[in-house]
Homo-oligomer: 666 residues x 2
């Protein structure tokens, strides 16, 4: 049943040798990896306007300059990452650059920051997408959180199906969005040039409190905070650098070209929307009730997003064009979360391979996707959305801090990379190219470091402190996991000498009654020809022990029966004591404990059996020179039940043949 559900949601399992088929062309890679930076234009402009409005409508005159700063930054970062993609095509992205050039700790900081940011990408993008759905259908406002969480899990299901299928599904909305917004911007600007500029529904609204005459530090802070919020437009730029191995060859070149295309499109869209918003005099405020002139109930009715107001102003409210823009914006935003669904599991797998995360994250699922990473990402993002009521403005405070941490460190790493290359290089022509590359990355590093400081200073108290806590915690956790794996690995290294063979083997069979599982366990234990064989029972109830002794004598079993007293009605300690005494008989002796177990077909039946055996097994495993043998007895109901066959029946018979054919002797 559960298996059937999995098949419907996820699809048939794929063979490992089909991994090559899932590589991406540039046309498919652009929507998959670039939907995040492209879609963030849908909220970046809005967040800039919102912060400036905190001072008052008068300060919107700063918006073009803030927007210009974001555009310049975006261009520099895209240029920087094109260098990364070419220099490190293996897909480790910022993590690999920082690890190789600045040491493993720097790499780990980047990894922790990126993991946090991928989660935030899912939360913010889905919340912003749902915001645009609600702008078109305001009555959905009461179900905001439920709709967000539903989308997160839908994305999870799609990604569990594997990278290629999700690429196809996600390609057309991205292209539709780009086309739609370009048409809208062109029409709007064209009309403005022609003298009858579009006017937003909110153009006449006022905001309170209107603070006039901000100067000096206060003005600078307001501007910087607006800039920090606008920097959300840069999130996800690094996604391509983490996804290079998914490209068709030549991987690095294709990835670099896709990144350039993405940068050009993102800058065009962002600049266009910001210009149009200022021309159409769009007004937004953090609290709807601060808007004087807002129709309806400001406590319950939602504000419309900037993009919704623009679409309404250009195409007409509730026109066909309006709904096309809203639908594609919502779609691309929700699918932008997909960037993270590609990046997070891939980074998780790389970290698991480097033994910084549990190795389960490096296992490919039925459909060749890193299933565990996908599920973890969806779960955490859903919790964040729920905690922050699906509010973009609240979630965005946690965002970008991580992105800019990894930006800064990876650019610093690249500068170091070029320094090393320069030290080895003599050819003046090549040296000139390397110099130019170093300048680009140095500029990128300095600018992103500056943004990092600005973000930290202006957003810390608004929620970013959570990220300031989460990243070091994640860092410490990954260090601890790594330390554990390293210690274990060192400990497991075989010694130069041969293996010490046990001198004698003592077999101990645990019995409670004389029934078929017990007799089977005795027979199997005898079949292994141990040096000594004893049946052991723990006496809790005197009557039961007497009955057992009687049965033992009646059946004439030629195995001695040892009875252990247990004054505290508990079986573990007496058995452990007995096993320890046996072990002490010889320093190289091995004790093998046989435990007869019932195997039942239904989970609730399991509750009725084997409880004390389980506890005993767990304790015995802590003893050296002890082996624990489960001697299963399959009850009728478990054998009749075709559970095992069902699981295997889910695969086609012809797929199973190679298992047998592939058997090799070494």
């Amino acid at each position: 049943m559960l298996n059937w559900l999995k098949r419907v949601l996820v699809g048939r399992p794929l063979r490992s040798d089909r991994l090559g088929e899932t590589l991406l062309s540039k046309r498919l890679a652009l929507p998959i990896f670039a939907s995040d930076p492209l879609s963030s234009v849908a909220y970046a402009t809005q967040e800039i306007l919102l912060v400036l409005t905190l001072g008052g409508l008068a300060y919107l005159f700063l918006a073009p300059w803030v927007g210009l700063a974001v555009v310049v930054l975006l261009a520099v970062v895209v240029a920087s990452y094109r260098q990364v993609v070419r220099a490190y095509p293996s897909g480790g992205g910022s993590y690999e650059v920082a690890s190789r050039n600045l040491g493993p700790s720097a790499g780990l900081v980047v990894a922790a920051a990126l993991l946090v940011d991928y989660i935030m990408t899912v939360a913010v993008s889905v919340a912003a997408g749902v915001d645009n759905v609600i702008s078109a259908v305001p009555s959905l406002n009461t179900h905001r959180v439920a709709i967000c969480v539903g989308f997160v899990f839908a994305l999870m299901a799609m990604n569990l199906r594997g990278v290629r299928e999700s690429g196809k599904t996600f390609a057309w909305p991205t292209y539709l969005f780009i086309t739609g917004v370009l048409v809208m911007v062109a029409l709007g600007l064209g009309r403005a040039v022609a003298g009858h500029a579009p006017v937003a529904e909110s153009a006449g609204w006022q905001v309170r409190p209107e603070q006039v005459g901000l100067t000096g530090l206060a003005l600078a802070l307001l501007t910087l905070r607006a800039f920090a919020s606008g920097c959300t437009a840069l999130t996800g730029v690094e996604a391509i650098s983490n996804g290079v191995p998914a490209f068709k060859p030549p991987k690095a070149e294709n990835a670099a070209r896709t990144m350039l295309a993405m940068g050009v499109v993102a800058i065009t869209l962002f600049a266009g929307i910001t210009a149009l918003a200022l021309i159409a005099k769009v007004r937004v405020a953090e609290h709807t009730c601060d808007l004087i002139g807002f129709p309806g109930n400001c406590a319950t009715d939602p504000q419309r997003t900037v993009i919704a107001q623009l679409a309404a102003a250009v195409f007409g409210n509730n026109s066909f064009g309006f709904f096309v823009i809203q639908a594609t914006t919502a779609l691309i935003l929700i699918l932008a979360a997909n960037t993270a669904f590609n990046g997070f599991p891939l980074l998780g797998a790389i970290l698991a391979q480097d033994r910084y995360l549990p190795r389960q994250l490096h296992t490919r699922g039925d459909r060749l996707a890193f299933s565990n990473g996908i599920i973890i990402l969806a779960a955490i993002a859903a919790v964040l959305i729920w905690v922050f009521d699906g509010s973009v403005t609240r979630l965005i405070q946690l965002y970008i801090l991580g992105v800019f941490t990894s930006f800064t460190l990876s650019q610093a790493g690249m500068v170091r990379h070029w320094n090393r290359a320069l030290a080895d290089e003599q050819d003046p022509k090549v040296r000139r190219r390397l110099h130019r590359s170093r300048v680009i990355n140095a500029l990128g590093g300095v600018l992103t470091a500056l943004v990092l400081v600005i973000v930290l200073a202006t957003k810390f108290t608004h929620g970013a402190y959570l990220v300031v806590i989460a990243v070091p915690v994640l860092f410490a956790l990954m260090r601890a996991i790594h330390g554990h794996y390293e210690r274990v690995s060192a400990e497991l290294e075989p010694e130069p000498g041969g293996v010490v063979m046990p001198a004698r083997v003592h077999a101990v069979v645990l019995v409670s009654r004389v029934h078929r599982p017990t007799l089977q366990a005795l027979a199997y234990a005898q079949a292994t020809r141990p040096d000594s064989l004893t049946a052991v029972t723990v006496s809790i109830n005197a009557e039961e022990v007497a009955r057992l002794q009687q049965q033992w004598a009646d059946r004439d079993l030629n195995v001695p029966l040892t009875i252990l007293d247990s004054p505290y009605r508990e079986i573990t300690d007496p058995v452990l004591d007995y096993v320890n005494r046996l072990r002490e008989e010889g320093p190289r002796d091995l004790v093998v404990v046989y435990i007869p177990e019932y195997v039942v077909g239904r989970w609730w039946e399991q509750l009725l059996h084997n409880q004390s055996a389980l506890r005993l097994k767990a304790r015995l495993l802590f003893q050296r020179r002890v082996m624990v043998v489960s001697v299963p007895w399959q009850l009728e109901s478990s054998v009749r039940r075709p559970r095992r066959e069902q699981v295997r029946g889910g695969r086609r018979p012809e797929d199973r043949k190679p298992v047998a054919a592939g058997r090799r002797e070494s």
Copy 2:
């Protein structure tokens, strides 16, 4: 840490041979088993008044007659159960009587009804106790549910310490309560006789809606509903019959005497409180806002209980006497729940012994109490209190239905019991005694059956339908568990012939890398001298397999290495296929699968290892003629950790000696 907490709450473990010490004298048994029927006088009167007031204050004239009916019923039921105690002293009570005389199905119905009722006893008694606490300290009203749940878990902790200690703790409040209420009733009635009767604070209040002139069926229904509610006074009467084995010898005679004492005291208290409530003109209503004249906010302030109003009228409001009555009433009510904490686990253990419930319920814990039953009871009662907001009036609707089901069936069983005895008996003197006994039980059976019909008719829609669902569900569940155990037991019965010894033993060692656990597992497998020995690995990653083959060759291990292909990156199916092919080589061949396992000291470390081994083990256990061997490798961190020693260190060394001394060879 967890162990230390357990020791503080529950105490040192007790040796099984101290079981005899926990038997009860009559003086201790009365408060333990009789606190339920004694304490229910604290709410039985109130519920009668409350139902009659639904018609209007005019109908309170019926209260004495309803009260009288309850007293008569109580006397008859006590007399009936004194017969049960004498005839069936083994403590099965109603369950045993019904099973033996009416068949196992009737017994199981009784058992299901009793289990439900024990749970309700805890919920109702604790809720009523907290009601009286709130009558004295009204400001606690907002924390009603939390206080109730706290008391339930305090009772659980006390009972986990064992039956005798809880008896001592609970004895003095019961005796204080009896004395206090007797003094209050005597004083109040005395003053009434002297001409200046006590007047309740609510004597002048009116209720709405006042329905005048109810006649015929409506009047009869009101009366019957009041009577049904008043029958709560009878709950718990059967507790003594279920607890006979806990009495000191002569067990049956002591139990019968305790029951008589309990009946006399209960009838006196109930009659006294009802009379005094009518004399003092106490007014109560289902909804506080129906009371005209109620001071304070009827939506949030609590009504005071009948007993609180009486204590205030007789001793003066907030006087010393008032607080003594409130404190002892609250205490005895909360401790009345203790009746159920004695009865439920005992009945559970009997049912587990008869294989109707999981056998874990028949295991005595560290302090010789049936710990699992105690914990289950506390958990379910806490949930019920939480769901019904700790309201006595709402919880009481679910009550008594179960009690009267078991009353009726056990009395019917007793009639059958006497019929059989009469058939075998010739002595006319004995026959006269048997005849008299049969009359008592027949009368009890008819009356309780009548009450059962009344309760069902008047309370069904008020919540009793939940019990009408729960009892059959529980009945079916116990039947299913019994069926399972019976099937298993039949299946495990050894065949007359000897045991079939395996012909050949194939050892299969699962390897992933050449490290110490692998080498150890190979050595141990070799030590058991199998007929064939193969190392098996599953190929998921071609590089890893090549490295393994290289290491295998380098170390010159003289064990063949078989490589199984796994196109779906999954280890379970290829190994199962391989094992099945080995099994098919001979119909009596045994396959032993050795799985090297790491043992780590901390639970979170466990998450980092052995995940796929666990799944494989679970699947292998479903195969016939397969044994699964866990070859543990204790990592340093697990050995350094003194966890096992801590657990055993909790017991005194001298207690451990008999374990060794008690070893016997049979």
